[in-house]
């Protein structure tokens, strides 16, 4: 048992895409999360910080955004601004996902 793991290691080659939602405060700390605990917390934290930076830059450019959706090839990130913080939804995109507009 575990022979292959001993040979190739147990780390998966591809990280699973995060699915669920997180709430971050204005400092970027995660206050609540429904994303699987198997997903690396530091990556989630980094995503939260980048989303806050995106919203902050929009405010600096005099076009504050209430909501923003970033459509990647395999993931959609939707964020709603919450008094300096944000609630962030992460939706992995699969072949069966509805086409977003």
């Amino acid at each position: 048992m575990g022979l292959l793991n001993n040979i190739f290691g147990s780390r998966p080659g591809v990280t699973q895409l995060p699915s669920g939602s997180i709430t971050v405060n204005r400092a970027g700390q995660i206050l609540s999360s429904t994303v699987s605990s198997a997903y690396p917390a530091d990556l989630l934290h980094a995503v939260g910080k980048e989303v806050l930076a995106l919203l902050r830059e929009a405010r600096t450019a005099q076009m504050p955004l209430a909501e923003v959706s970033i459509h990647f090839a395999s993931l959609r990130i939707t964020a709603r601004e919450l008094r300096g913080g944000a609630i962030i939804f992460l939706f992995p995109q699969t072949a069966l996902s509805p086409i977003s507009n």
Binding site: E50, A58, M63, E67, V68, H71, F72, I77, N101
Partner: protein, 357 residues
Amino acid sequence: MENQHKILVLDDDADWLELSREMLTQLPSKPEIRTATSGKRALAMLDGEPFRLLICDLKMPRIDGLQVLAIVRRRFPELRTVVLSALEDEDFRSRAYALGVDMFWLKTEMQGNLQMYLECLESLLGRDQDGGFRGIQSKSLMDIIQMECLTRSSSVLRITRGSLVARLWIQGGELTDAEAEGARGEAAFRRILTWKSGTFENLPAEPNRKRTIVKPVNALLLESAQAIDESGGGPEASDQTVQIHRRTVWKLSLLTRTGAEFVVAVPPEGQGVHEAMGTQAQTAEQYATWTRRATEIIKRMGDLVDAGPLLHLDGNNSERQLLLIPRENKNFLVGWSPEASEGLLEKTKKLVASWDS
């Protein structure tokens, strides 16, 4: 020396006039410098012989500089005017610009930046054949009207071209009425847009003025631009000018047809300047900066979670909806009104695809 320009310097301080004369002799075009110590004397000199440029002080006994400028603007619309004053008051600066002066310099600033001051004067002297409107030399009347409407301002724009006077009534960013050469409404507006030079000033708004124009200003501008385009842009227009004009008309028509509020096309950092349509220059600059920063942030985020390349970004607030579409050599930020209907992504993709076609 028929091409030698004449400059008239008006100031009640004789010592300053002498100093000015010495400074102005350094101008490369070697203009003839004349001086006057009172507004009355200056007006008499302007009546008697043609001058290219008037450099005017503001604080003077009897007729002050603003009064002189108001008279000059009416009687000598082709004369370039520069205010050179010691009055460090923003109110005077805005009043002078409202009168259509080409430049406003503080004496203290001028002494510290003499070279720049002289370059500015030389540039004004060299603008014999240029079109454009006083105070906003490089802008066409279309640009000026667009700026007024984009800022959602309410004012009456009075445009003077020689003996011709026209007025445009703008209320809350909408063009409501126009009057020129005995015509009113859209016909007057089309006539005004054929003017290539002149002076303009902002007068207080007249909210009770009866509305005669109901078409959106962008549609009217587009129609007029197409009419000018079809007429060949005038005999003096060079091929390059015609090309630029056609491209602008095409993009403006694209914007109007699709119903988008604005488009900002942003090349990567260091690979050229952004191009914007439908928004003011300063706002466009801010949007372009955000587009660059947002693209960097999104790329970092995509790399972090292995999410693949960015397809697009959409965002909204109570005032507008935004779409950021990445392309190989440019990123496009397109603004839509909050009421814009579904299918926005497809419309935006089509607009972006046709932008440089």
